[in-house]
């Protein structure tokens, strides 16, 4: 759902253009696709820290009207109850500073987008939510949110700002040195505002499977932040190409490919995103189908697939068993870490167990492949120590 006309330039266009000429239109934005090379950029992010410009995405603030007169948990519960009309996650139950991954679902139980919703940590921001949706869906999502909550809350777009993702095992050290030492202390899936580079909103999150941050910064401060990060020896700029191979290795869904309006969160193996309170309340769009599948299982399931030989199986490749079609590849390519091809796709549930051998129809020729658990490469998020 890219916008018509010529693609928009990122606010930091000049910084990226000084480092690469390989740009491409993605969701209506002219995005850097590649710098040093897809594989070296991918490996750098797994070993050091990669800087991604994801300003094409849809950050926004969703807030009760000014002067709402309620405070603290009550204000949060009120604003959360409004957004819960669209998503199946327990947003009311978020603690201050907590972030949750969820989906906008339709009445048929399909997925209209996947997104992050955060409850600000600061007491003064009670009654606000920070919401980040996908680039290609943002206009649809914002319209849906406004329509469902008209007059009860306000949605303020923040996609005129820059969203920078810093990802990798040394991201915490870089963030501590360049932004604020407190960033190293944040836990995975938390949010906090910092008075640095103007005023920034930082989540400890990302879409590479690595530890890291996503930083919302005003456009006028963004170049200073990007340049300060790029000046650090551990940081290199990373293009959209490596962003895709990183998220695929991490077993994460790309909307429009691995998720779509006909696919349910249960089929997508995302049942963990629907917390108990919402399952019991049955009060979200598509609850009937989604909860039926939650109880009884879905007919198909998202799985990891490893081709047994070297040929990559990309999106659209048919998955067969004994000459019968049992599914389709929705994302596929090459894993630099495993040094071989990897794919994600949907198969009939009876064939979804790891270890099952299937055939991938690549250029008309069946090639053996094995169903494997996701992720392909273990996640390395910064979670609080238990105990």
């Amino acid at each position: 759902m890219a916008e018509a006309g010529s693609p928009k330039k990122l606010p930091l266009d000049a910084i990226w253009r000084a480092r690469t000429s390989k740009f491409g239109d993605f969701a209506g934005y002219d995005m850097p696709l590649q710098f040093e090379g897809l594989i070296p950029e991918h490996n750098w992010t797994r070993q050091h820290a990669g800087l991604f410009d994801v300003s094409h995405m849809g950050p926004s603030f969703f807030a009760l009207p000014k002067g709402h007169g309620i405070e603290g948990d009550e204000a949060h519960k009120k604003v959360a109850s409004l957004i819960e009309r669209l998503v199946p996650a327990d947003i009311q139950g978020l603690k201050p500073g907590q972030v949750r991954y969820t989906m906008i679902t339709n009445e048929d139980g399909g997925v209209l987008d996947d997104l992050m919703i955060a409850r600000p940590a600061e007491p003064g921001a009670a009654g606000d939510l920070y919401i980040v949706v996908n680039a290609g869906c943002k206009h649809q999502d914002w319209a849906l949110i406004e329509e469902a909550t008209k007059g009860e809350a306000n949605l303020v777009r923040a996609d005129d700002r820059c969203l920078l993702a810093l990802q990798g095992p040394t991201a915490h050290a870089v963030a501590a040195a360049v932004i604020d030492p407190a960033l190293a202390e944040m836990n995975f899936m938390t949010v906090k505002r910092y008075d640095a580079f103007g005023r920034i909103t930082v989540t400890r999150s990302g879409y590479t499977g690595e530890d890291g941050y996503e930083i919302l910064v005003r456009a006028e401060n963004a170049a200073d932040l990007a340049n300060a990060l790029l000046a650090h020896a551990e940081v290199k700029p990373i293009g959209l190409g490596a962003r895709d191979s990183l998220r695929l290795e991490a077993g994460l869904c790309l909307y429009g490919h691995d998720l779509d309006p006909t696919t349910s969160p249960i089929e997508a193996d995302l049942a963990w995103t629907i917390q108990k309170r919402r399952r019991e309340a049955k009060d979200f769009p598509g609850a009937k189908r989604i909860l039926r599948e939650y109880e009884l299982g879905a007919a198909k399931k998202r799985v990891g697939i490893r081709p047994n030989d070297r040929a990559p199986a990309r999106e659209g490749v048919e998955i067969m068993k004994d000459g019968k079609t049992i599914g389709v590849v929705t994302s596929g390519g090459f894993s630099p870490i495993l040094n071989g091809p990897i794919s994600m796709g949907y198969v009939e549930t009876e064939h979804a167990e790891p270890g099952h051998v299937v055939d991938l129809m690549i250029r008309g020729v069946p090639r053996a492949a094995t169903i494997v658990p996701l992720p392909f490469v273990p996640h390395r998020y910064h979670r609080p120590k238990k105990g």
Binding site: Q34, G37, L38, I39, H42, G241, S245, R310, A311, P312, R314, G333, F334, P336, P341, R363
Partner: protein
């Protein structure tokens, strides 16, 4: 020996009636690191413009078209042996894809010489 290029970035080098075929340096650079390639078996025949081979990088899969009609006499053993790096390292030398027995040499006339191809790439 005559070397010619196609708009799809194959090169073909004719020696007698045997053509050596590969992808251009420009194509190899655009693709990035090759992670897979598939060559046709000896004995297979192709018409000019047919899908002949496949080359894949981490980024994408690309078809390699027959720049000239003929019958495959040999595939590059380095590529069949999964040494795909050679396509990136020496695209217009050791990284050749196939040798083909040409059926109609005059088809070369429609292709670009090195200078014309260099101009063509500059305009992309």
């Amino acid at each position: 020996m005559t070397k010619r290029y196609t708009k799809d970035h194959e090169w073909v080098c004719l020696d007698g009636d045997i053509a050596t075929i590969g992808i251009s340096k420009y194509a190899a650079e655009q693709l990035g690191d090759v992670v897979y390639a598939e060559l046709p078996a000896a004995g297979k025949s192709f018409a000019q413009g047919d899908d002949m081979a496949v080359v894949e990088s981490a980024k994408t899969a690309s078809d390699v078209y027959a720049p000239i009609s003929g019958e495959i006499v040999e595939g590059n053993a380095a590529i069949s042996g999964e040494n795909w790096q050679i396509i990136n390292d020496e695209p217009e030398a050791g990284g050749w894809f196939v040798k083909l027995k040409v059926s109609n040499k005059s088809e070369l006339d429609a292709l670009m010489d090195e200078a014309a191809y260099a101009d063509y790439v500059k305009g992309l």
